[in-house]
Amino acid sequence: MMEHILTYIIFFPLFMAVVLGVFRAPLKFLKIGAMFSSITTLLLVLWLTYNFEPHGAMQFIQNLPWIQNSGITYFVGVDYLSLVILVLISLLMPPLYIYMVHENRKGYWYNMMLLQTGVTGAVLSLDLVLFYLFWETMLLPIFIMIGKYGNGKYQFNSMKIVLMTILGSMSMLFSILYLGYIYFETSGIWSFALNDLAGLALDAKTSIWLTAGFLLAFAIKIPLVGFHTWMAPAYGSAPTPTVVIMSAIMAKLGIYGVWRFGYGLFEATLSYYAPTIIVLALLGLLYYAVRAVTEDNLRKMFAYSSGSHLSLIALGVFLTNIYAWSGSLYFIATHALASAGMFIMIGLSYKRFKTVRISELGGIASVAPKFAFFFAFFALSIAGLPGTGGFVAELLIIIGAFKTNFWIGVFTATTMLSAMIYIFWMLQRTLFGTSTKLCECSDLNAREILMLLPLVLLLLVTGIAPSLFTPFFETQLNASLQDVLTAIGGLQ
């Protein structure tokens, strides 16, 4: 059990999808099966978290030969970093399935199960080719979901996100192959395992090029400003469950990639790119915030807001000090919860009011008070309301930024301000005021409250008692930060 648990967690949804597909399960069983797979996975993850040793490094490792001729292995393991995202994925799936309960298109359910396997696999793999496999395959469900069940110019937008993301992953593939070859040249055997490749001594020029290959993939996924043109259209077109996964999990995988593979393979070289990325991230903070203020479509608005916050996380990752790092890690979790909640709320509001345009909404609070409460809560936790997890995280990153450089700190601090601006203005226009559209809509029902409550509670707990979570990552985060600092120090 212990040694196979990660494999179960990765492949159980896929297995369920295949079983249900082969037996052509009727819709009812399909829904039950999907729900069952998500809850089983959640239980497995909780059990894993319970048994997780907070001070240990990589745990629950499983390393099997896969394609032996090229040293490609099935190599999975979990540490503090992947645990955070793993828990998030498995926590988000059951509420999403509850959200989808009236969804009668079968493809929706299958794709969601495949998507879960894809993202979980990407987070847990420690072999570069295995990682690449999951990184690419998680695109397929997204491609189909946006292209088949989306809205607006969905066919075009779906193609756009796939092409742009694959452009990034192709450049990453090149770097992976090159690294594998260098390892073969120096040691005489093939291997793509992260811990083997991490020990390679690369000359500066090669290292810079290879890092660029990885960074392009991650920059497109995050997306940093300049690599972002797929984001707003894709978020705008995608169906709600997909948007939730994209903003809460997939965008975070870009950050995760920088952390795991960027710092894992090219500790020193990343500092060569750090100034560029920091500038891009700062630009992103402002640019996305401005776009969010002016955006009328709620989905796109929160796409930009998501981009702005992910830029903040990226900034934190590249500012190598403990405040910024723990802030980023914390923000990965809290932003995922908040943006998941927010996009679910937008989906619910579309179901009720048949629009996601701010200009067409208004006066929600007077007709649907419970809805308005949750809507406001998630919106405010995205803005970083004190008492929610986002506040703690943003504060930490800002402190980290001030530690590095006063002006970077000042710029970073504006993010809280700008978020307040667009969130409050949006709330004012949607919840209050009057709508020209007569709105005869029901308030949230028990099922919807049930799916939102876990997110609310978690956001509150992370905000009020961060000390509950810090022991899980503190020591290890410090240790890896020290590694990186030594490596950078060695360079200078």
């Binding site: 099997l64 292209g147 193609m159 090149f174 090159y178």
Partner: protein, 495 residues
């Protein structure tokens, strides 16, 4: 004597089958369906016999006292023969419905196909240039006739003329090259040529190099490398679907059999000479093929264009061979296997659909296909993903080896360009997937027809997935490793 006959049997049975089919086709009792089965029967016997001898050969020459050293028996040739026979069997079985749906098919079709397979098998065994030329012509002339099989159709006839005139002309280059090499070496046997190349100096071998370059022209023409590509799209388009499937998946591979044998073994010491030429041609092929594939609207033409790009990937590995990469030769073999499965599968589905509809299939015609035929759409997607080199399919591993071999031989830029064209190819392959899945269907869902064709297509789709992710952990079932091992074994049998 008897054991020599036994060794020749797999090749002989195919040509015997071709003659039998020719005779039977005049009998009224033999419908197309029965003739088809007879053809499959002969090919299957050959396949099974070859399969048993895989790995057991020790570089024998067939009837050395009669033919001299014209025919060689090694694992390399056997693996190619397996692909040829498998390709022909798949072509015959999958297209069963197509033959019935078009009135212009007659018994000779099957005889021609078997003759062509025989020519290819001879080509892969040829160890002497004139033999290789004859083999190449046997295979080519059969294919010319097959391309123009729909006599009443102007497009088909035009394709045949175009292919035949250009093909025969480049065939003459092969002959010319052979003559020049004979002038230099005094023999056309590959053994003698190897010996000559091994002991000579590069600057003394002008005649041989010119001859070998002429041979290369023929090879480049047949695989559709730019600038010898002008026929590919039109010929693939004009030929009936079963013929296109056969050409793309099987005939193209046959050319690589002789190309690899010549340039890995015999010309190995002087391979460096062609590196720059090959690199330029590779770049042209990758870019030109991508351009051709992107600009097409008819699926058949798109696949034809993309088959040029696949030749480009193979050429990357071939120029890596010249630069001394050890991975490159197995990479070519493995890529051929992967391409064989994916191309046969995708053309197979196309011709299966064509057997039930009239008209050319463009991207537009695939709108709503996934709703109409969910399983067929799934298989088509798998083939497209494999052609695009998406991970978890065998096509990804194929590209994986090609690009690592390019990196190994120091052709970093070429590897980069290969990855870039792979990215471009994502566009035109995914476009088809998008068409199938993103649009609602006008008609209701059709039942999945369970017959030999569809089962074979399903089997190939599974093989593609298994070849991409199959592990060797499961006993008795060779996974991706098994494919690579047989490719490596075949290459090592050449040395």
């Amino acid at each position: 004597m008897i054991d020599q006959l036994l060794l020749a049997f797999p090749m002989a049975i195919v040509v015997i089958g071709a003659f039998v089919l020719m005779l039977l086709s005049h009998s009224k009792k033999f419908t197309l369906e029965r003739l088809n089965l007879v053809g499959v029967l002969f090919l299957t016997i050959s396949f099974v016999m070859q399969y048993q001898t895989l790995g057991a050969h020790s570089k024998d020459f067939l009837f050395e006292d009669v033919f001299g050293r014209s025919f060689i028996l090694d694992d390399f040739a056997t693996l190619f023969d397996l692909m040829f026979t498998a390709g022909a069997i798949l072509t015959l079985l999958i297209n069963n419905d197509y033959f019935k749906s078009r009135r212009y098919f007659s018994g000779e079709y099957f005889a021609l196909l078997l003759f062509s397979v025989f020519g290819m098998m001879m080509l892969s065994h040829a160890h002497e240039l004139v033999t290789a030329f004859i083999a190449l012509e046997i295979a080519s002339i059969s294919v010319y006739a097959l391309v123009g099989y729909h006599k009443q159709n102007k497009v088909s006839s035009e394709a045949m003329m175009k292919y035949m005139v250009l093909g025969s002309m480049t065939g003459a280059f092969f002959m010319l090259g052979t003559a020049l090499i004979y002038g230099a070496v005094g023999s056309t046997s590959l053994t003698e040529i190897s010996a000559y190349v091994a002991q000579g100096e590069l600057h003394n071998m002008t005649l041989l190099i010119v001859g070998a370059t002429f041979i290369m022209v023929t090879i480049l023409f047949k695989i559709g490398a730019v600038p010898f590509h002008s026929w590919v799209v039109d010929v693939y388009h004009g030929a009936p679907y079963p013929v296109t499937m056969f050409m793309a998946s099987t005939f193209k591979i046959a050319i690589f059999a002789i190309a690899l044998r010549l340039y890995i073994v015999n010309f190995a010491p002087i391979n460096n000479f062609w590196t720059e030429i090959l690199q330029v041609i590779t770049i042209l092929t990758l870019l030109g093929g991508s351009w051709l594939a992107i600009s097409q609207n008819i699926i058949k033409r798109m696949l034809a264009g993309s088959s040029i790009v696949h030749s480009g990937y193979l050429l990357i590995a071939i120029s890596s061979i010249g630069l001394g990469s050890e991975l490159a030769a197995p990479a070519v073999m493995f890529y051929l296997l992967a391409y064989f499965l994916s191309a046969a599968g995708s053309f197979g589905i196309l011709s299966f659909i064509a057997s039930q509809t009239k008209g050319q299939m463009s991207y537009e015609d695939f709108k709503g296909f996934a709703e109409r035929r969910p399983y067929m759409a799934l298989f088509m997607s798998i083939f497209m993903l494999s052609l695009a080199g998406f991970p978890s399919t065998i096509g990804f591993l194929g590209k994986f080896y090609i690009f690592t071999s390019a990196i190994e031989s120091g052709q970093i830029l070429l590897a980069g360009l290969g990855i870039l064209t792979a990215f471009i190819s994502v566009y035109y392959y995914f476009k088809l997937i998008a068409m199938m899945y993103f649009y609602p269907s006008q008609t209701s869902q059709e039942k999945f027809p369970v017959n030999v064709s569809t089962l074979l297509i399903a089997m190939m789709a599974m093989l593609i997935i298994w070849g991409g992710i199959g592990t060797s952990l499961i006993p008795f079932v060779p996974g991706a490793d098994g494919f690579i091992d047989s490719a490596k074994q075949a290459i090592s049998s050449l040395q």
